[in-house]
Amino acid sequence: MLKFIIIYLFILIAAGIITTVIHKRKKTVKFLIPLISIAAGLLLVYTVMGFRSFQPESLKTGWSMPLADIEIALDSLSLFIMVPLLILTAATSIYGLQYFGTTPPGRMHWLNFSLLTAGMIMVLISRNVLLFMLSWEIMSFSSFLLVISNAEKDSIRRAGWIYLISAHLGTAFLFTAFFLLGKGAGYGSESFSFSYFSAQNLSAARANLILIFALAGFGLKAGFIPFHIWLPLAHPAAPSHVSALMSGIMIKMGIYGILRVLSFLSDQYTTWWAVMFITIGAASGIIGIMFAIGQHDIKRLLAYSSVENIGIIMLGIGLGILGVSTGHPMISTFGFAGALLHILNHALFKGLLFLGAGAVIRQNGTGEIDTLGGLLKKMPLTGTLFLAASIAISGLPLFNGFISEIFIYAGAITGVLIDGGAVLPLISALIVMSLALIGGLAAACFAKVFGVIFQGSPRMSRIKPNGDVPALMRGGMLFVAAFLLITGLFSFLLVPLLEGPLLIMTAGESAGHMAPLFELSKSLSRILPFILGIIILFTIAGSLRRRKRGIRPSETWGCGYTRPEPSMQYTASSFTEPITEQFSTLTASRRKREGGTELFPVKPWIFSSNSNDWFLSGIFIRLAKVLDKLLSLLRWFQCGKAGIYVLYITAAVIILFIWKFII
């Protein structure tokens, strides 16, 4: 399987380079990009078919880089995350082909796109720190270039800038974590090899330190609170198929990194790690969805909802660690299974939501929720698929989001029932409560998005929708949507894929405890298709009855008011006002009203409400200012004269010389 993945990497990079060289010849580009997509599809089929009989593979050759070998391997954890990666690559590349319409993207666009995908695949298969970091940087940098594709706009340059800074801050943390991991091996390529990391015995103190650095480093990619600052800026800035790829799978590379580091430390799980993960998870989940509710731009909203979903994944991982550390393998099996499955599920529904949002933006020229309305009639397919993804992301049954959430619930409820100590049941109950709250708020949030964008009547006459999107874009969305439904209804097909990754995450403890997982997914797979069948039957019966008896169309009832205007409709802001008002301390939502105070205004008033992300301005920028002040004390060092710099170098060499040979 590894060799097919390597072939695919070559296809990706070759296609990327060729499209850059000949980007004027649109016909060839139109041929090459679907090639990426079809190859991804084939690889996906091969991966899923071969998952059952999969054996870990590895490959190692020398490399002229110091401290590094070309060491790549494929285990079930990497392979599992490869599944959503391939699905999204297949969908987004054909979608992106038509997304730009008549104005083609820049010369480098498809090269960056294929480098991003290739970088992510390489992150998944590298087993050497330098190779891993190289792939990590390829991934970060190509996505940075994609984010700033419209660099004329000020806001986009700022978004790209913040993304670049946080990506590199993350890299610094990661290097520290990896140095700590390899410290015991001495100088040599072994100290940077993953196989050494997982074999060594670390002291508890070092393991704690490693985990904290890894959490900060990978967290800046995964985007949980408080490291989410770049997501709401970068996702709206990028073209929509890129946002789908970034939010769907690139931020999951952060989660993959955390899982990989945890697998090195899997014999050291402690309860306080679990508490840390669960706190981060609950905070990201609740604060993320609160911020999402307050947003007015659809892609910004989706970015915050990614923060929320990363929170759910962190809750699952925390529960898994908790199960291992307290010696309850069933809890850890359910917890990690939920987390892993949510990685897949979130990639699917968030990918679809971003593709849907892109379709809306492309056809209407804006993503401002409050200016849109009634699009379901103009864009029936996009609307229906967006609805499916909204149901899935709210964790409601029939679609895939429900399955991963019920796995985490199942783990937590198993924890609640365990006697002998109040800690485990209490933490588990808190997980259940936060999941329930997150689920409810997510449903409110996505009911708002769907309801305001796709239902009612158009809110502003200046926006003229252009009908539904062209065929390839529809195809991309339908492809993802099919997986939403299959995963939601027949989850037992997916549980075997979890078996291998679970063994890695629980250090083999999940081995005898897969049965409850199978049982739960089988019960669900027995009952959910049945319910869906009845719903469909009932709906068909209803529409037949309506056809037979006829319906009388009439205007929406306006309480006797005879001249209703589309602008009188409820907007997204008004829909969420009770929630943002109630939690205004958390989301720092501000309202502004400009205009008179009279009861019967002559001139129009201007009203606006906003949720300000205080994490960026309140924490990071303040921190950066303090740092800047401190470091400016050293600024005399940088005098700008070449002679002095040569002196520095000479002095450094002499000092090193003295240190090595004299002391």
């Binding site: 029932l417 309801g451 929406t556 409820y570 009770p578």
Partner: protein, 304 residues
């Protein structure tokens, strides 16, 4: 199992409209009125099913499909709460999550069908429903968790076994918040007034404003099935299944569910409706009571 599922569904379908009638009769009694017949809701449903549907021109297919989806998913939720004990019931780990999430699915469609017409009134109701139910959900789950701890199992069937003489205080601390949640979820006073005639203050009723004919009938019926389901859960939490014979248990259930309706009617008669701004506080308090109950259920196993 099939028999039990069919019985649950049949009971919910046939008996649920009764509860609304009983509540109204109770309220009429307190107000010194004669009140509408107990079977009024049946008459209403029957009449509505024969009337034509008027559908807003701005509505989409969602508005037309929603009543069927809401009705079916609410009905599907009832199969986990068997009406007659002793027969095998569908039960698996976390089945109650599916139960409440099916209700969540029906609520989601209720909300988007309300938004479908573009009416501000309906938007208002939808917004409140979405917010209050998000706050009510954690409370519901904590009460169920407490009962699961007492009953010792992960299926909701275990929650119905939790009653014992030592645990009465926990049961009270669980049943009271569950009852409050029931009032919130079913749009009763003090959360919502089903009899109000002002659209601006409604929650549930206003979301149905543009529905008519069979659509409205399905929505109303689904609402009464939901009320039936919550009442049945309360009754099953409070009835000692171990001691009673199946026949006595069934008989008591048939008597007790209307009793819950009478209590609801009494609450509605003696209380005023809370202002909308107070509703979150009310739900938070219910949550605190529920969490206290959960906390005590931990202590009991620590041996106090």
């Amino acid at each position: 199992m099939i028999i039990n599922i069919c019985l649950s569904i049949a009971a919910a379908l046939v008996l649920s409209p009764l509860l609304g009638g009983i509540i109204n009769k109770t309220k009429a009694f307190y107000a010194g009125r004669k009140g509408s017949p107990v079977l009024q809701l049946y008459f209403d449903l029957f009449k509505l099913f024969r009337k034509e549907s008027v559908i807003s021109t701005s509505a989409t297919f969602i508005f037309q499909a929603a009543p069927a989806i809401i009705f079916t998913s609410t009905l599907a939720a009832t199969i986990f709460v068997p009406f007659i004990p002793g027969l095998p019931a569908p039960s698996f780990t976390c089945d109650f999550i599916l139960l409440f999430y099916l209700l969540g699915l029906s609520r989601f469609f209720l909300i988007i069908s309300a938004l479908d017409t573009g009416s501000s009134f309906e938007g208002m109701g939808a917004s409140r429903e979405a917010f209050f139910s998000a706050l009510a959900e954690p409370v519901t789950f904590v009460t169920i968790l407490t009962m699961l701890r007492l009953g010792g199992g992960t299926s909701i069937q275990a929650a119905f076994r939790g009653l014992s003489s030592e645990s009465w205080i926990i049961i009270i601390l669980t049943a009271v918040p569950f009852f409050i949640v029931m009032l919130a979820e079913n749009a009763r006073i003090p959360f919502d007034d089903p009899n109000t005639h002002l659209e601006l203050t409604m929650i549930h009723e206003v979301m149905l404003l543009d529905n008519s004919g069979a659509n409205l009938a399905l929505m109303e019926w689904a609402a009464s099935i939901k009320l039936w389901l919550f009442s049945l859960i309360i009754v099953k939490i409070l009835l000692p299944a171990e001691i009673l014979t199946p026949a006595a248990y069934t008989g008591l259930t048939i008597l007790a569910v209307p009793a819950v309706a009478v209590i609801t009617g009494t609450v509605e008669s003696v209380m005023a409706r809370a202002s909308l701004l107070k509703v979150p506080q009310l739900l938070f308090s219910a949550g605190i009571i529920a969490f206290l109950g959960f906390f005590l259920s931990l202590n009991q196993f620590l041996g106090w």
